[in-house]
Point group: C2
Chain length 120, copies 2
DNA sequence: CGGTTCCGTTAGTGTTAGCTTACCGTTCGT
DNA sequence: ACGAACGGTAAGCTAACACTAACGGAACCG
């Protein structure tokens, strides 16, 4: 279990995992519920849950024959912590740049090599 | 340009991209600098920068023959916004769960509004 | 007990995505 | 104008990964 925001970000890179994450944020769910709500098969959900669990973002609790999954607060906290760190660094960076007499952000006028930015 | 936290999360899923992102958070960098600091080739850095730029997380500015890349504040803000949304949902979820297992603290008998299959 | 539901795991497959090599345009120095 | 530094792009390969299908196990119910 990592429990650090850096690893957690890697886990949330997958869209399906993000969807599961957001669903679990609303309320705990069983695998079956998640399967009904998502456009993927049950084993796929199960695999994603395993990844999320190993990554320390969710925990599971047995309830009869089904397993209820829910978010682990520490995981979300770690994410926020990591992002806040980067955010602070960025703020000081912006401040130093502002001192360095850069009045505004120039949109790179000599960027004729790359002025077609529409690609998925 | 996406400029929404959801897409940005996908971009930061890659470790190399996270590394570039964190480096740019400290101070703006040229492609050459990033290449020297990272264990990947220069074209790889360039490709990642293109992805980050299309995703609205960074901007580039021409300076002589080199391009200086730096973070775009809106991108980081979008990330925080998305994460805060999930965080709020999770908080309410935790609260409801706490109420369900802690009698007498904050009883809310009208909690049948959400479909939580509770049977033992 | 047999049947059913729910779930984890494995094997197998197809697609995606990152990395490198090579090439070319642009800008600066001499 | 020539050559070097800087960097974006194309083609290709390889590895990772997300998904399905199939099997097996564990808990409820009749």
């Amino acid at each position: 279990m990592e429990t650090n925001g850096e690893g957690a970000l890697g886990l949330l890179g997958d869209p399906s995992r993000r969807a599961i994450f957001e669903l679990l944020a609303r309320h705990p769910c069983s695998v079956q519920e998640l399967t009904d709500l998502l456009p993927i098969s049950r084993p796929a959900v199960s695999q994603h849950l395993k990844v999320l669990k190993d990554g320390g973002l969710v925990v599971s609790r047995a309830e009869g024959t089904r397993r209820i999954y829910q978010l682990r607060p520490d995981g979300v906290t770690a994410l926020r912590t990591w992002l806040d760190g980067v955010w602070q660094d960025a703020l000081t960076g912006f401040q130093k740049q502002a001192e360095a007499s850069t009045p505004g952000l120039e949109p790179d006028p000599n960027d004729h090599l790359n002025d077609e930015p529409e690609e998925r």
